[in-house]
């Protein structure tokens, strides 16, 4: 990460300017979160009066306890986790298998299969939302976890990333495996899968965030509380504004943003690599 050209020569603007602008940027990104974090530790009346607190209050534990009372928010949290993990692992599993088929075998219809997968890049779920919902409803999957998850796990981007990577695996590896009498499944488990570890980690971050943050699709499919996700439930809590318990909304908001942010920050290295490589 060194850019040697930009430090010492004359005409360089001073660092404090860069620090100033960057600090302002950080403030811009942190302020909304800070407001919500602090709000989640005050009682409803304080926020309802419009005294947006910028310092922590003492109601944090009480707010979260109230939020989890009744079990609805706990279930939403579970549903969101299930959805994010299932979408991430489901997408990774089916795309690594199909990429393996397309790269390591020759068979009639191979190009057709590749293009069929490639074309799905052009059909994001938001665009074909009602026809897809109709299919899910015809299959009786409305308000089920399967209906929530399965339509989201076919992914062209993940398949393309694995394909790109598989093409770089040296031919000698395959030859050696064949000579040792290892079949394609053995080669996949012993060689390809371990080599793909970084790619899988990178995809995991991106897909976890993607699954967790879904909005339009769960809004349609999760018609009852059993499969409702946290993001949807949190927005629903705002409902009719007059009697919104803003401190509860703020606490739910904190819960809805912590897990994906934690995943991105903890796996930052893989995430940045994965993002810049999948999308290009």
């Amino acid at each position: 990460m060194s850019n040697a050209a930009s430090t010492t020569e004359p005409g360089q603007r001073p660092d404090w300017l860069a620090h100033g602008v960057l600090a302002l940027g950080v403030l811009l990104f942190v302020l909304p979160i800070w407001v919500v974090l602090m709000g989640a530790t005050h009682d409803a009346a304080t926020i309802g009066r419009g005294e947006v607190p910028l310092l922590p209050g003492g109601e944090g534990p009480a707010n979260f306890a109230a939020l989890f009372a009744g079990g609805r928010v706990g279930r939403m949290l579970g549903n969101s986790l299930l959805m994010a993990l299932a979408v991430a692992f489901g997408k990774i599993a089916i795309s690594i298998l199909s990429a393996y088929a397309v790269v390591f075998f020759r068979f009639p219809g191979r190009t057709l299969a590749f293009w069929a997968i490639f074309l799905t890049l052009m059909l994001p779920v938001e665009v074909r939302i009602f026809p897809t919902f109709k299919v899910v409803s015809d299959l009786g999957l409305v308000n089920t976890h399967a209906g929530l998850i399965i339509p989201l796990i076919a992914s062209a981007t993940a398949t393309l990333l694995f394909r790109q990577f598989f093409l770089t695996i040296p031919d000698e590896y395959v030859e050696a495996a064949k000579m040792d009498g290892a079949g394609p499944l053995r080669f996949f488990c012993d060689i390809v899968l371990p080599l793909s570890r970084t790619n899988i980690a990178a995809l995991f971050v991106i897909l976890f965030v993607y699954g967790w943050n879904q909005y339009l699709w769960p809004l349609l499919v999760a018609t009852g509380e059993e499969v409702e996700t946290l993001v949807i439930g949190m927005v629903k809590m705002i409902g009719s504004e007059a009697n919104t318990e803003w401190n509860q909304v703020m606490a739910a908001c904190v819960l809805a943003l912590l897990p994906p942010v934690a995943v991105v920050l903890l796996m930052q290295r893989w995430f940045v690599k994965g993002l810049t490589e999948t999308e290009k």
């Binding site: 850019n3 860069a18 990104f29 926020i47 947006v52 598989f166 965030v209």
Partner: protein, 293 residues
């Protein structure tokens, strides 16, 4: 590009492909085909009879002044979101790429909004701009500016733009940082030795060399603003007030979900599909060129 050595099995590859192809067929191609088919149909008011009406849904849609308004809203929204988030993303990337103390820390602190759901970003901005409980909203009212994005269409548009752009800056910054790091330092050193000032160096060397990244990001940002911002609009304004923030995707949702007009909603889906296909083709033409470059 092809591999030279492959496995000889005949059946196995089909088995490996089956899960993905099955899901793709059932949840992608079948609904997409249905959208096209439904867009030629119209149901009567009671939903009992369905008749084939040819292109009537499309002609009616394109003649509808409220659809024109949704188009205009989408254009304003997408342009503003893209410009704002690309501009800030580039600014922060250029600054965080310099060898200043704490560059890595700044990067970490600037990256995380990527992970925030659009709907969650919208709720965060409610707490800033809500006229009664929002930090900035209350202040604006306090100084007598008459702030209420729930009544004023222009203010509503401004808030959804800010919330949607806020979430996208991190993404753009990550790509600009990657782009900046692929510029060879020697080029910039040479220019510095020739006496080019930093500002000059940026516009004559760095910015042109970043153009593939910039171009890619313009397409991605337009797609984001057009299709992924449903949550921002739904959580903040629900398309209101008086349809002032109703974009194409929100309009398709309202027609399908609230008005239960499958024909009109499908016609809009088809229009949106054409838009995505065009944008994707533009993007891939560029990727092709990049591969040869």
């Amino acid at each position: 590009m092809e591999r030279k050595t492959v496995f000889p099995q005949r059946l196995l590859p089909y088995l490996l492909l089956a899960p993905q192809l099955l899901i793709t067929a059932v949840f992608f191609f079948w609904p997409a085909a249905q959208a096209v088919w439904f867009s030629f149909l119209r149901q009567d008011a009671f939903g009992i009879r369905t008749s084939f009406v040819g292109l009537e849904n499309f002609t009616e849609l394109l003649a509808d002044p409220t659809y024109h308004e949704a188009l205009r809203n989408t254009a304003v929204f997408a342009t503003a979101v893209s410009l704002l988030s690309l501009g800030l993303g580039l600014l922060f990337a250029v600054l965080a790429d310099r060898r200043i103390r704490g560059a890595g820390l700044y990067r970490t602190l600037l990256i995380w909004p990527y992970a925030v759901a659009p709907a969650v970003a919208a709720v965060l901005w409610i707490f800033l701009f809500h006229p009664q409980v929002g930090l900035i909203g209350r202040w604006l009212n306090g100084v007598g500016l008459g702030w209420d994005y729930k009544l004023n269409g222009g203010q509503a548009m401004l808030v959804v733009i800010l919330a949607a752009a806020w979430k996208q800056v991190a993404y753009n910054m990550i790509f600009f940082l990657a782009g900046l790091q692929s510029i060879p330092p020697s080029v910039l050193e040479a220019a510095a030795i020739d006496g080019a000032r930093p500002w000059q160096r940026f516009w004559t060397i760095t910015f042109p060399l970043l153009s593939p990244t910039t171009f890619f990001l313009i397409v991605v940002n337009l797609v984001y603003a057009c299709f992924d911002t449903f949550g921002v609009i739904d959580a903040l304004t629900k398309g209101g007030p008086a349809k002032a923030t109703e974009t194409l995707i929100y309009r398709a949702y309202v027609d399908g979900r609230v008005n239960l007009d499958l024909g009109m909603s499908s016609a809009q889906s088809v229009v949106l599909m054409v838009v995505v296909i065009l944008l994707t083709m533009v993007q891939f033409r560029y990727v092709e060129r990049r591969v040869h470059y």
